[in-house]
């Protein structure tokens, strides 16, 4: 049984709650980045670059169509040339990966605040966390509206 989206968010909050100082928190974030499902080199294209990040972030999504056993879900892969950014995108991917478009579109982002990474949420930070989120939701929206084909 895979955890629900809300459970995964809560897990992350609990995970980060163990760290009391910034250094441990950031070290953990950097570690998370190492588990990110990496985008294939062919997919590191201009179109998959997320705009509005000071570091480069590539994000790609693929729709895995529904079967008799499960609903269709969105599978994300990503990468970044900066480690903290990679950690942040990994955090988002961990929460949103292999969810249905409806789950992704309906999810709240308040967990980021609770993790203690609030500063990354501000739209004027050059890290583009909100740009990444927007991009993920845009993919989900396209898949939910579209013909559910691979994009």
């Amino acid at each position: 049984m895979t955890a629900t989206l809300a459970q995964t968010q809560q897990d992350l909050v609990d995970e980060f709650a163990m760290f009391t100082d910034w250094q441990d928190r950031y070290e953990h974030l950097i570690e998370l980045g190492k588990d990110l499902p990496l985008i294939t080199p062919e997919n590191k294209t201009e179109e998959n670059l997320v705009r509005g990040c000071q570091s480069r972030v590539w994000l790609s999504a693929e729709y895995r169509a529904s079967t008799s056993l499960s609903e269709g879900t969105v599978h994300f892969t990503a990468d970044s040339d900066a480690m903290i950014t990679k950690g942040i995108v990994a955090l988002l991917v961990r929460v949103y990966n292999d969810r249905t478009p409806q789950e992704i579109l309906g999810a709240s982002t308040e967990f980021i605040d609770r993790i203690g990474l609030r500063e990354h949420l501000s739209p004027n930070r050059a890290n583009g966390l909100s740009a990444m989120l927007d991009q993920m939701k845009r993919y989900a929206l396209a898949f939910s509206a579209g013909s559910h084909e691979e994009a």
Partner: protein, 426 residues
């Protein structure tokens, strides 16, 4: 406005400066703020903050319009600031000081209006490869409008203008400048000091050469005014642009100095109130200088604040501040270089207190974020100089830029924090 503080002219007491900047008492992530982003915008001394608030609290009124007492006082205060600035940069006339919203607006004014006056198809505008986007894009636009071409002075490995001279013992710039300019060159637009590299450019020499060929010269002084005594007549430039906010003054205010003779000939940039003499629907005529170029209600509080910032710098001896910043630069340079894989971008002989660097295997964004966690504010990225980043083959740098109130202990904190961050990131 007020001139209450007592100037320190002899020994340098950094604590005396620190006491005047209220923001230095702020904590960032629970740590005392170390502010090393002065090239982006400097912090403001209490005197400047007070000058603005006193204006609003006591004499706020629109200028040059009312017959009432407050309007007269506001006008007097604004024009007194203009005179302070005139004197500071040694312009001949106060009406050669045009108030704008900042360097960007100043250069856009110059590029648009001069472009209209001077540029024709086939003409050339020369800039350098270390310019801020604000001193590139307005010229690109002007060139596009008039069918002119933008030419760029290349940059050497140390971050200086490469004027193509063969190495040798004579003057640094020598004859080779003739290659930079052709008979088609109309305008030279260059920065006095580079925001990314800290390089102090030999503007006076290049201007002298340009003048011989009748080329109009525009200097972007945004990064020079906070550190150097600028004398526009000595430099010989036709235009000099700067911002208040980088020189201890308020945001949203800047200056374009222009030589009277040219300003008289140039067409207005923006139209509106204040800049006209007579308006009728067939044709309007322009107000005299400087008002011809100051359409609309000016940033009166900003102008007064800028005047105060300039007075403040003069009271406290700009040369002493710059010398102090250079001792910080020397220490930062020496200590940062002990970090494995660290490369300084911008190693010119003549620099202001600005240090840009890259570290092998460390992204500037990561470093900036981890420095911020330790209370240290630096700038990361391309610093609005993308062509210069391309020249050095980097996507961005980390930049620390020093001001009069920074201390050696803060430099040591930067070095230690950088080492800590590098360890986390490798």
């Amino acid at each position: 406005m007020s001139t209450t503080s007592s100037p320190v002219k002899s020994a340098y007491h950094v604590e005396e400066f620190r006491a005047q900047f209220p923001i230095l008492k702020e904590l960032v992530h629970g740590k005392p703020l170390v502010y090393f982003d002065n090239a982006a915008t400097s912090q403001k001394p209490r005197r400047v903050i007070k000058a603005e608030s006193t204006y609003y609290a006591t004499i706020n009124a629109n200028v040059h319009r009312g017959v009432h007492t407050l309007s007269t006082k506001a006008t007097e205060a604004q024009e007194a600031a203009r005179e302070t600035i005139r004197k500071h940069i040694n312009a001949k006339h106060a009406h050669e000081i045009i108030f704008t919203s900042g360097t960007t607006a100043s250069i856009n004014l110059a590029a648009t209006s001069l472009g209209q006056l001077l540029l024709e198809k086939g003409d050339e505008v020369v800039i350098s490869g270390m310019e801020h986007h604000s001193n590139i894009v307005p010229w690109q636009l002007a060139c596009e409008r008039h069918g002119a071409t933008l030419k760029v002075i290349p940059i050497t490995e140390s971050g200086e203008w490469d004027l193509g001279e063969t190495p040798g013992p004579s003057t640094p710039l020598r004859e080779a400048r003739s290659e930079v300019f052709t008979e088609k060159t109309r305008i030279l637009a260059i920065s006095h000091v580079s925001n990314t590299l800290g390089t102090i450019n030999p503007v006076k020499e290049l201007i002298a050469q340009a003048k011989k060929q009748g080329i109009i010269t525009v200097v972007d002084g945004a990064q020079a005014i906070p550190h150097l005594k600028v004398d526009v007549q000595d430099l010989g430039c036709d235009f000099y642009a700067f911002s208040g906010h980088k020189a201890y003054g308020p945001t949203g205010i800047g200056v374009l100095y222009g030589r009277e003779e040219l300003l008289e000939k140039m067409p207005p940039w923006q139209g509106g109130g204040e800049m006209i003499d007579q308006v009728n629907f067939e044709k309007s005529t322009w107000a005299k200088l400087p008002f011809k170029f100051e359409a609309g209600t000016p940033n009166i509080a900003g102008i007064i604040g800028l005047g105060e910032a300039i007075s403040w710098m003069n009271d406290y001896d700009l040369d002493a501040m710059a010398a102090h910043e250079l001792t910080l630069l020397a220490r930062a340079t020496k200590e940062l270089l002990t970090i494995d894989g660290l490369r300084i971008i911008g190693t010119a002989k003549e620099k202001v207190g600005v240090i840009s660097f890259v570290i092998e295997g460390v992204h500037h964004y990561d470093l900036g974020t981890l420095l911020d966690q330790q209370g240290i504010a630096v700038r990361t990225g391309h610093h609005c100089t993308q062509p210069l980043m391309d020249r050095f083959g980097v996507s961005g740098t980390t930049r620390a830029s020093f001001a009069c109130f920074n201390t050696m202990a803060e430099v040591d904190a930067l070095v230690a924090a950088t080492k800590k961050a590098v360890k986390m990131l490798r």
